[in-house]
């Protein structure tokens, strides 16, 4: 059963969706997303970039959104259709974001709430139990930076990573694998550290 379909390994010409969430288009997160996108494209994959801040993504789950959610239909508001199409046709999801208060930035959390709705990320079975629907996703990649050192994050827990690598992972297939590429103590890193980390991201992306 292994060989050509090693768990988590991407097929040739895979569709990879890169979700970038950072307010600064000239910051390190944007540079990380460019490094990831470049390496993936060079490896022959097709990349869709969802830049949430640049696209003015509205992260607030409205009352109307919630009504759609509770009706358990796969309908999404019109502004989200592109996001849903990307996610449902992707072989891998790559998240690039800064970890704030040990969690996801609100804009990325809101993206999960509004895009990963019933019929897209999960379905309900006859007994009203949640069942995964993102079985097309073979790999989740988490690329994040932290102001705090690694030890501090170990104490408070990497709660943003948990949302993606556990809660979201549970709506994917059994063989979906996760990869985390993390840079701690960001505020005291010099330029050489940052460049080295970008090369590290590129290497990891080439080996998906």
């Amino acid at each position: 059963m292994y060989g050509s379909s090693v768990a988590g390994r991407l097929p040739r010409n895979a569709h990879v969706v890169v979700v970038l969430c950072h307010p600064n288009p000239d910051g390190f997160a944007a540079a990380s997303a460019r490094a990831a996108t470049g390496a993936l494209t060079a490896s022959g994959h097709r990349v869709t970039l969802l830049d949430l801040y640049a696209g003015g993504f509205d992260p607030v789950m409205s009352r109307d959104d919630l009504c759609l959610h509770q009706s358990r239909t796969p309908d999404v508001p019109g502004d989200l259709e592109g996001h849903v199409d990307a996610v449902t046709s992707a072989d891998a999801l790559v998240f690039v974001y800064p970890t704030w208060w040990s969690g996801l930035p609100a804009v990325l959390k809101g993206w999960l709430e509004r895009v990963m709705v019933p019929g897209v990320a999960f379905v309900f079975d006859a007994e009203q139990r949640v069942r995964p629907a993102l079985t097309n996703i073979k790999r989740i990649v988490i690329i994040s930076t932290y102001g705090s050192p690694r030890r501090y994050i170990a104490v408070v827990n990497d709660n943003g990573r948990r949302v993606l690598a556990r809660a979201l992972r549970m709506t994917c297939g059994w063989r979906t694998r996760t990869t985390s590429i993390r840079l701690f103590a960001m505020d005291t890193r010099d330029d050489a550290d940052r460049q080295r980390h970008l090369r590290h991201i590129e290497r990891k992306m080439r080996s998906l």
Binding site: N24, S62, R63, G103, K109, L112, S148, Y152
Partner: protein, 200 residues
């Protein structure tokens, strides 16, 4: 006691909204001084902005001058002795709206301070002696355990470390809310009321 209640749910007809009204009612009956924030009704913008990113380590006045609506939230945080959060748990964590409230109001000079050259922040919200979370989970306790309870840890660890040393943490949570009976909901409602009445 001065209690700040922060409520985040888009539907005023929801069970979480009813819990919020019960929290405020019980606290008021018990004689506490309550300040209530309803993030959805005031249309709070949860998106941490480029301005805030670029002035991340600057004084809070810069941020409240650029975004005047943040000033009242900062004042409320500095005023209270106890914080109560009322929200639905989505994707095992805080709703984006509430997470954005934390991202934007727990700013340098209000919640924390970063001494020169240090990696680790120093807490400033030492007026807050405890935090209570009232939340609902659609899924079971077991599923939430597998998911790693990121919302619970965000409050009990990351946020609480900005409060007074050994600040209390009270977790009042309903699991399986999507499928539970009306009787179970009523029992949870009474549990929330009792907790609030006994707050001291």
């Amino acid at each position: 006691m001065r209690v700040l209640v922060v409520y985040s749910h888009p539907n005023p007809g929801s069970f979480v909204a009813a819990l919020d009204r019960a929290v405020v009612g019980s606290l008021t009956t018990a004689g506490h001084d309550v300040h209530h924030i309803d993030l959805h009704s005031e249309r709070f913008d949860p998106a941490f902005s480029l301005f805030e990113r670029l002035h991340h380590t600057g004084p809070p006045g810069e941020k409240t001058a650029e975004f005047p609506f943040l000033a009242a939230h900062v004042d409320a945080l500095r005023w209270c002795d106890h914080l109560v959060l009322v929200y639905p748990t989505w994707w095992s964590g805080l709703p984006a709206m509430l997470k954005g409230w934390v991202d934007r109001t727990f700013m340098q000079g209000v919640a924390w301070d970063l001494p020169e050259g240090a990696n680790r922040i120093r807490p400033l919200l030492t007026n807050i002696g405890g935090v209570t979370v009232v939340t609902t989970h659609g899924s079971s306790k077991f599923v939430n355990m597998l998911e790693g309870e990121s919302g619970k840890r965000t409050v009990s660890r990351s946020m609480r470390l900005m409060f007074r040393r050994r600040a209390g943490f009270d977790w009042v949570a309903l699991y399986g809310a999507d499928t539970c009976s009306a009787a179970k909901r009523d029992a949870f409602m009474r549990r929330v009321q009792r907790r609030m009445e006994r707050l001291h």
